[in-house]
């Protein structure tokens, strides 16, 4: 019999037991069946599929949305791209049947004929020229990612020609990734509200938006689509902000898919019966940055000491739960493959770069060579909503302490960090996280992270790093030309970074997507590009019931 004291605590004990059972279930992963790549796929129609979004999409027009990636992930099923770019840099035609570049400053799109918008209107070259201009000029959010755009003009019945102001090597990939074609007539008639739930762009895609509100968005498969029909009839995008709640919803079968915002939670998602977590290397890189123009980081030995004190393998485990790939250079090999004659050649070069693998003895020796042999004080800020950054900051604080470097760790909001980043006012050791590169060309990130032209507000060179070698190589990397010449210049930039250490490359975080019981991707994988351009939905298949 319970005594008086234990009776009073009974409700607390009950609460504790419930929590323990919840935790135990979340951790019990041994008896689950994984329905991923090994599952037998069927060609059956899928009546409904629910995708849990972490927040309400801020808009429905990718060009003006404050979160173009989130908007693009489902709106590219409604308003289609001209072409899609694969991780290996190859292009798959969508609305543009053929794309040619007669010279480095001209891109010509030959459009598919017989394509109709969901309201029955035919797709015209005017619609495409308008969509390209809408995407590539301010105030479109996407305008800054399409470098060198000058104009888009109709040059034939189903032909649009884009003129560039400079020979930007990433222009075609940038336009392919950013542009979603929508009906010009509808856009013009709803100019002030375009992209809100009251004026959702009209497109040529396999789906149309049939409801959109604060709870989520419903896409319904439409008849008359020019391409092959996707299997899912109704795509429900539901807003589930809390990760734990999303996991419980998948456990109960109410949700079929979620992109993992915290990759460390992957083991818990894998423990949900029947769920498969697709994991793919992504272009999202993380690095440390130190301002080479300000003391104490103006001393290369200090920067090297910080690099030697950074435990990258340990961080990959602690900050990302092993769901990240350590970086050998400033960019992953795949983002160099386009100019380096393939992934292998790129990786071989990265492996040959000067290494600063964790070694506290070497770190101490470097610091002893610097003008700050007795140590110094500095700061490192982490983003309160990105758990990995906190682990990174604390780990670095601990390691640098052994060198006599006193690091103050501060928590900041993403918005505050971004503001300082673009004002060029970050101080101390900056933790640059989640920088997305694109395609197989180094120009997009490497071409903006170094050199005089990239220093200043709204620019990426937060280390204020440049050398005569960099100034010579940078224009070559950022201008279309022969691969061999650009690869030489790319190697120069990467070598300069590895040697002078304005940045300490950390790791590329993997892209993880959990797909629930009864479904799988027909390609056996879901990459970050698949997520960006809607292929995740086109590749969905039902699996055979066991």
């Amino acid at each position: 019999m319970l005594n008086r004291r234990s009776r009073r605590t009974a409700p607390t004990v009950l609460g504790g037991l419930l929590l323990m059972s919840l935790t135990a279930t979340a951790c019990a992963g041994t008896d689950t069946t994984d329905n991923g790549a090994a599952a037998k796929l069927t060609d059956d129609d899928i009546p409904a599929f629910t995708f849990a979004l972490p927040s309400q999409p801020p808009g429905y027009d990718k060009a003006t949305s404050t979160q173009p990636v989130v908007t693009g992930s489902f709106m590219s099923l409604v308003t289609e791209p001209l072409e899609r770019v694969a991780p290996n840099g190859s292009y798959t035609p969508a609305l543009a049947e053929k794309v040619v570049q007669p010279d480095p400053r001209t891109i010509v799109y030959k459009l598919r004929s017989g394509v109709k918008f969901s309201d029955g209107e035919p797709l015209t070259a005017e619609d495409v020229a308008w969509s390209l201009t809408h995407t590539a000029t301010p105030p479109a959010q996407t305008s800054a990612s399409v470098r060198g755009f000058s104009s888009a003009k109709v040059t034939g019945n189903l032909e649009v020609t884009v003129k560039l102001s400079a020979a930007v090597p990433t222009a075609r990939a940038g336009l392919a990734g950013a542009t979603l074609v929508q009906e010009k007539k509808f856009a013009a008639a709803h100019a002030s509200k375009l992209g809100t739930s009251a004026a959702i762009p009209v497109g040529t895609g396999p789906y149309e938006v049939t409801s959109a509100n604060a709870s989520g968005v419903t896409l319904t498969r439409r008849d008359g689509y020019w391409g092959s029909r996707p299997k899912v009839k109704k795509l429900n995008l539901k807003v589930i902000t809390d990760d734990n709640s999303a996991q419980l919803a998948m456990r109960s079968g109410d949700v079929d898919m979620r992109v993992l915002t915290n990759v460390k939670s992957a083991p818990q998602w894998r423990a949900v019966p029947g769920t498969h977590v697709y994991s793919a290397a992504s272009d999202t890189v993380n690095f440390l940055a130190m301002d080479v123009t300000k003391a104490p980081f103006d001393d290369v030995h200090v920067r090297r000491a910080v690099a030697y004190a950074t435990d990258i393998p340990g961080l990959v485990k602690a900050a990302w739960g092993g769901e990240a790939t350590p970086l050998k250079g400033f960019l992953p090999a795949k983002n160099l493959a386009g100019v380096a004659d393939g992934n292998e050649a790129a990786q071989k070069f990265l492996d040959s770069l000067p290494s600063h693998a964790i070694d506290l003895k070497k770190a101490k020796a470097e610091l002893a060579k610097s003008g700050h042999a007795d140590g110094f004080s500095t700061t490192i800020a982490y983003i309160d909503t990105v758990p990995a950054t906190k682990v990174l900051a604390l780990s670095l604080q601990q390691n640098l302490k052994t060198l006599g470097i006193d690091v103050t760790v501060k928590s900041v909001t993403l918005n505050a960090w971004s503001a300082k980043f673009y004002e060029h006012k970050l101080t101390g050791i900056s933790l640059a996280f989640g920088f997305t590169t694109s395609g197989t060309d180094p120009a997009s990130l490497l071409g903006s992270a170094v050199g005089k032209e990239n220093i200043g507000p709204q620019k990426v060179n937060i280390a204020n790093f440049t050398t005569p070698e960099v100034e010579k190589a940078l224009p070559v990397v950022n201008t279309a030309g022969t691969d061999a010449t650009r690869w030489d210049a790319t190697q120069t930039l990467l070598t300069q970074i590895a040697d002078q250490v304005p940045y300490v490359p950390l790791a590329a975080q993997d892209f993880l997507m959990a797909v629930g019981k009864g479904f799988a991707s027909s390609t056996g994988k879901v990459t970050v590009d698949d997520y960006f351009d809607g292929r995740w939905a086109l590749n969905l298949r039902a699996t055979q019931a066991e």
């Binding site: 808009g59 404050t66 301010p138 959010q141 909001t413 918005n415 971004s418 503001a419 673009y422």
Partner: protein, 320 residues
């Protein structure tokens, strides 16, 4: 007399809202980050894009000009347009969509709080010091102390996932579905808040039950039910109603956690997103709506007090 009292309170309420809106505007301006950064995120930005966004949302205007423009809009019942949470959507429309759900959740929770809190509080008050009292008081303490989000997750797991009695997320369509979707969130909210009402009702009942008129009513041989409801509860009602006002205000802050865990698109999640993104028009709109709710709730509680206790009416007549 009462009409003058209501008008006076409403006038003071409007002044309060004006002050509140100005203070929040100042705080947002002082807080780290800017609406521009929320718009740009960590994507590359060109000077042309920055200029264009600044011009579109008047972000470079002086502080007072920005506030003046917003205030002029509100006077014409135009709350402006969202900058980043729902780019370009009218704030009035966003708020009306969200507020309806929060009010439904609050109303449902209030019904549960009243149905559970008052009877349990009365029972504990009548059975002072006995096992029933101790059990109810201990339960109320646990309920008050339990973090709302932990309770919510436990409820979700037990009743949503394991037993599958209720949906795990969302709002549902139609009355029956909406009630089913809001049950777990309302229970979570009511559990946390009813603890306060139980304690308050218990204390008020203890005071009332020890009064001479209760002893006299018993001596006259009146039925226990009549003594309890007509004499004890009516006299205990004033502090209970006052605490109910506080509970309703506390519910507004608690909904933030509850809406987050149950993925309900209410005013709490909206406010959180708007503050995170420095979406000034949305924050201002939400603060006005929440502020007005608090002012109106307090007014309603005071009016209920006037109806319940004649002595307070004399105080109003005297100009208090």
């Amino acid at each position: 007399m009462v009409a003058a009292f209501v008008l006076r309170r409403l006038g003071a309420g409007i002044l309060l809202l004006l002050t509140l809106s100005f203070l929040v505007f100042c705080l947002l301006a002082l807080s780290p980050g800017t609406p521009l950064q929320a718009l740009l995120g960590t994507r590359p930005a060109s000077p042309e894009l920055v200029d264009s966004l600044n011009a579109r949302y008047h972000l470079n205007d002086p502080f007072l000009v920005q506030y003046g423009r917003w205030l002029a809009g509100v006077c014409a019942l135009d709350f402006g347009q969202s900058i980043s949470v729902q780019s370009d959507a009218p704030v009035g429309q966003i708020l009306s969509e969200r507020m309806a759900l929060t009010l439904q959740l609050g109303g449902y929770a209030l019904v549960l709080i009243l149905l559970v809190g008052i009877p349990l509080g009365m029972l504990a008050g009548i059975r002072r010091g006995r096992r029933t009292d101790r059990a109810i008081s201990a339960g109320a303490t646990v309920a008050i102390s339990a973090p709302a989000f932990v309770l919510a997750i436990v409820l979700l797991y037990v009743f949503g996932v394991a037993l599958k009695w209720f949906p795990v997320y969302g709002t549902g369509t139609g009355f029956a579905e909406r009630v089913s979707h809001l049950t777990l969130p309302a229970v979570a909210l009511a559990t946390v808040l009813s603890g306060i009402l139980v304690r308050q009702t218990r204390a008020a009942m203890l005071t009332a039950m020890s009064q001479d008129y209760i002893t006299f009513a018993r001596l006259r041989g009146l039925s226990p039910g009549r003594v309890l409801v007509r004499y004890a509860l009516r006299n205990a009602a004033l502090p209970v109603v006052t605490s109910l006002g506080l509970i309703l205000v506390a519910a507004l802050t608690s909904t933030l956690f509850i809406e987050q865990v149950f993925s309900l698109p209410g005013i709490g999640t909206l406010l959180l997103a708007a503050v995170t993104n420095n979406d000034v028009p949305v924050v201002q709109g939400a603060v006005l709506v929440l502020g007005a709710s608090v002012i109106l709730t307090n007014l309603a509680v005071d009016l209920l007090g006037l109806a319940l206790d004649p002595r307070t009416r004399f105080a109003v007549k005297d100009g208090a």
